[in-house]
């Protein structure tokens, strides 16, 4: 299978702080990857490096076999909700339409009929068809997040990159978002940063654990040792309300010794 993302030996620093250290990550086509790890462990930085927003000090990143930002519009990006300007005066459909923005700045540019059609379809897909003329400011966190997903889909991407899509979102929206992502995974590769154990337990096909370097990448059945490396202490990664263990059985007492 073809590699959608191929990151080789990448390191990223902010000033003197090294955030990512020699990270190797290959993401195959059709993968649904959850990136987990402690706060400040470089999860968002890794996404931004893949997107080209953050420059890498060392290493190489290719997306669809091309250098960063040269792959055409194959990536749909859903940023963290908490970083979005929730008060900005823009309507729902206008927000989704920004996903159709053409690369080349042309004076007096207007979106085409086809662009508007695509935007409508994506709004319908995320279940917000009737919200098109509302202002973004009026939306709940969950609705806002779904509009951001619709915007990323309006790009018509093959790879979807999401940064904590269910943080600060109500429980119902959270489930709906996972349903949306499950459906999208039929024909799109998904990479998602998450803190949500429910997602790790039931949605994603593989996980990557990041704590400045890549601790683990594979099926979502973590070894206790890997978790200890990741968080510095043993943690039960059990999804609430779901009888599904992320970790294999382990004993706290044994690990402590």
């Amino acid at each position: 299978m073809e590699n959608v993302i191929s990151a080789k030996n990448i390191s990223v620093s902010y000033g003197k702080t090294q955030v990512l250290f020699q990270v190797d990550l290959q993401v195959k086509q059709g993968e649904y990857l959850g990136i987990i790890g402690p706060n400040g462990g470089g999860k968002t930085t890794l996404l931004k490096a893949i997107l080209g927003i953050v420059p890498i000090a060392k290493g190489e990143i290719e997306v669809f076999g091309a250098k960063v930002r040269e792959h055409g519009n194959l990536i749909g990006y859903v940023p963290q909700l908490s970083h979005a300007n929730r008060e900005f005066p823009i309507s729902v459909v206008e927000t989704v339409l920004t996903g159709r923005t053409k690369k080349k700045i042309r004076p007096f540019y207007q979106y085409s009929k086809k662009d508007i059609e695509i935007a409508q379809q994506q709004l319908e897909f995320v279940g917000l068809k009737d919200y098109r003329n509302r202002q973004m400011e009026e939306l709940s966190g969950g609705e806002f997040q779904k509009v951001l997903i619709a915007r990323a889909l309006a790009v018509e991407p093959k790879l979807l990159i999401l940064d904590e899509p269910t943080a600060s979102v109500d429980a119902k929206s959270r489930e709906e978002i996972y349903e949306i992502l499950d459906q999208l995974n039929h024909d799109k590769t998904i990479v998602m940063v998450t803190h949500d154990t429910m997602a790790i337990a039931s949605s994603v096909k593989s996980i990557a654990c990041l704590n400045h370097s890549l601790v683990y990448h594979g099926k979502p059945a973590l070894t206790p040792e890997a978790v200890r490396d990741l968080y510095g202490c043993p943690i039960d990664l059990i999804a609430h309300g779901i009888p599904h263990r992320v970790l294999g059985d382990h004993n706290h007492g044994e690990i402590k010794e």
Binding site: I75, Y77, Y109
Partner: protein, 276 residues
């Protein structure tokens, strides 16, 4: 007042200047307030003082000096900010004081009696000439046409710069264009509000508009409306109370903002109570 308006050309000029200033403030004010570039605008405006001083020293039109300095500081701030390594507000603070200091230095080195700088610092809408009006009209037209031409992109840039950058849009070009438009705005407004007071004309109408509408285009029109009210009512107040026009316009604008702020807060609280 009406009689005086019919008789005196300088009053007619002042009214036209007020209208042009309101249009440019409404458009650019909404953008500046949304992108949180108020302090950057202040920096660019104050750097322009250096250009005014240089104009007096070398004997050319001070407004041209202000224009050149505002443009250079806009490009300079944009460039250094883009290269990184300096916190934006440090950079702005340095440009701000450096430009003012240069202005003072140039004026001190100027032969003869130093000119009255009040009209550049605080504006004097009553001293606006035909030439000033023509210059303001051209600059206003440049701002309107540029924003209309790029509205789709500007909106995308203001809402989420990173997202359209990922799509391959050259957001740095948009940023420079906006910075240059800010420089143009500052120069167009110097006659009316002066370097120091220009900030309130850009801030107050746009900030009030953000209380009243959550649509960007509507905000621009509301801001233009308030700008008109402030400049014309300010003019009338200054006429009857015999106070400087710059001060009366700004005092009116800022106090109106606070009235709206109090009402807005009361309404928000009432809504919160209802929801509980």
């Amino acid at each position: 007042m009406i009689e005086a308006l019919k008789t005196y050309e300088f009053l007619q000029n002042a009214f036209i200047a007020g209208i042009l200033a309101s249009i440019i403030c409404g458009i650019m004010g909404v953008i500046i307030v949304e992108k949180k570039m108020i302090m950057m605008t202040g920096g660019i405006a104050h750097t322009a003082y250096g250009g005014v001083g240089l104009g007096y020293l070398l004997g050319f039109e001070p407004i041209i000096g202000a224009f050149a300095f505002a443009m250079l500081s806009a490009l300079g701030i944009g460039h250094i900010k883009r290269k990184g390594g300096i916190q934006a507000d440090i950079l702005i603070g340095l440009f701000w004081s450096f430009g003012m200091a240069l202005g003072i230095l140039f004026l001190a080195k100027m032969p003869g009696y130093p000119p009255d700088m009040n009209s550049y610092l605080f504006g004097n809408i009553l001293a606006v000439t035909h030439g000033d009006l023509l210059q303001m009209a051209i600059l206003t037209a440049v701002v309107i046409i540029t924003i209309l031409a790029l509205f789709t992109y500007v909106k995308g840039y203001l809402f989420d710069e990173e997202f359209i950058w990922i799509l391959g849009v050259k957001t740095e070009v948009l940023e420079y264009i906006l910075l240059l438009l800010i420089a143009i705005t500052v120069v167009a407004l110097i006659r009316v509000a002066g370097i120091i007071l220009v900030i309130s004309l850009l801030t107050a109408p746009a900030a009030i508009a953000s209380f009243l509408s959550n649509k960007m285009k509507t905000r621009i029109f509301i801001a233009i409306g308030f700008g008109l009210f402030f400049s014309i009512a300010g003019l009338i107040i200054s006429y009857y109370l015999n106070i400087p026009t710059g001060a009366s316009i700004v005092l009116l604008a800022v106090s109106t903002y606070f009235v709206f702020y109090v009402f807005h807060n009361m309404r928000e609280k009432a809504i919160q109570k209802q929801n509980v």
